[in-house]
Amino acid sequence: MKKEKSFLILLFTLVIASSVINLFHLIKEHQHQTGFVRMNQIWEDLEMRKELEIQLEEKSRSIQSDLAYLEGQLNQKARKGESSKEYQQLQNAYLFKKSQFENEYDELAAKLNEQIDMQLRAYIKEFAQLNEFSYIHVLDPSSSLLYASDDQDITEEVTLYVNMKYQGLK
């Protein structure tokens, strides 16, 4: 009889312990998991940005070389002492080309920035959903978040995920 009683007490304790664990899991599941990222750091370590910046640099180099050629022609005309009308025409053409190239460069930069932004948002959203985050905040001088505890900082994890996702490894 005594043996049976102690067995029942033990069993009762185990059931209570198991219920507590279950309850803990349940609360954890329904809690809003939040974290914050330092966007500047993500931007700095972003593989996609680094690759696209090479594209931009190439464009810039090609523009510089075209402009240098035109500038050379302009200087040649100036040295030969050609009439001011002709020189003026060439100078106008040079300025027109320069502004055209600058516009092209700006357009490409805006296009690439948009591409980075779209992919970055998509991968962060995926990271949040996969890891059950309800909110991911941005902590930088311009954000409305004034303080966040360091243990909520998920910048490294997000950067790693975004880079792996960009490389197509996930």
Binding site: L8, E29, E51
Partner: protein, 221 residues
């Protein structure tokens, strides 16, 4: 009394453990896709075993609601599929031989909008739609490459399957010359211009490709 108490305890323990298992198994299956999911109307059954993958390696991206799926399709599967569909009695080995020269990938782009696909996703005029179709059929090929350690290869075959807006997705079959591909990991790079999503990369490990090639197919009876 003792038995009832023991049963309640076991039930509690079981409930405590079950949730986490579900989550991990879902994550494991993310990288694979079954042929029946790619071709839902065909009802294919393949011989998968424990050592072989659960399906074909797949990489998925969702950018602004547009879903990109790139799936590696073993040549043997395509040979087997052709044999299943064909009325002619072509030997399986002959078809296998025909498909053995190239490495095949299927790219599926799903716009997720009812009655729309890549050809008519925005409300442009019909000329814009025609230009898009022309780009998808002929221009996009130039924007796809297979990359291995900095070296790139262009597709040997590129085919845009038109579905005439019946499906919200578009399918592209892409194949690369096997002779130029090394036994290393490969990345398929798509320079996406139509929706301005930029460079989209899909990487496959050599191991994944080898495992998928080990899937065996039931011969047509």
């Amino acid at each position: 009394m003792r038995k009832t108490a023991a049963f309640i305890f076991i039930l509690f323990v079981f409930i405590s453990c079950s949730n986490d298992d579900d989550r991990s198994s879902q994550h494991e299956e993310l990288d694979f896709i079954l042929p029946s999911e790619i071709y839902p109307d065909k009802g294919y059954t393949l011989n998968f075993s424990k050592e072989k993958p659960k399906g074909f390696p797949r990489r998925h991206k969702n950018i602004e609601g547009v879903e990109y799926d790139l799936i590696y399709l073993p040549g043997d599967f395509l040979a087997w599929k052709e044999q299943q569909m064909s009325d002619m009695d072509i030997p399986f080995d002959t078809l296998k031989q025909q498909y053995s020269q190239l490495e095949y990938y299927m790219l599926r782009i799903n716009i997720n909008q009812h009655g729309k696909d890549l050809t008519n996703y925005s409300d442009g005029d019909p000329v814009d739609n025609d230009k898009r179709i022309s780009f998808l059929a002929f221009g996009m090929e130039k924007n796809i490459q297979l990359e291995q350690e900095g070296l790139t290869r262009n597709p040997a075959i590129f085919h845009f399957e038109r579905t005439f807006k019946i499906t919200p997705y578009n399918t592209f079959m892409i194949a690369f010359d096997k002779g130029t591909i090394e036994d290393k990991n490969r990345t398929i790079v798509l320079k996406e211009e139509l929706l301005n999503h930029g460079l989209l990369k899909f990487s496959f490990s050599e191991d994944e490709i080898l495992k998928a090639n080990k899937i065996t197919y039931k011969k047509k009876v």
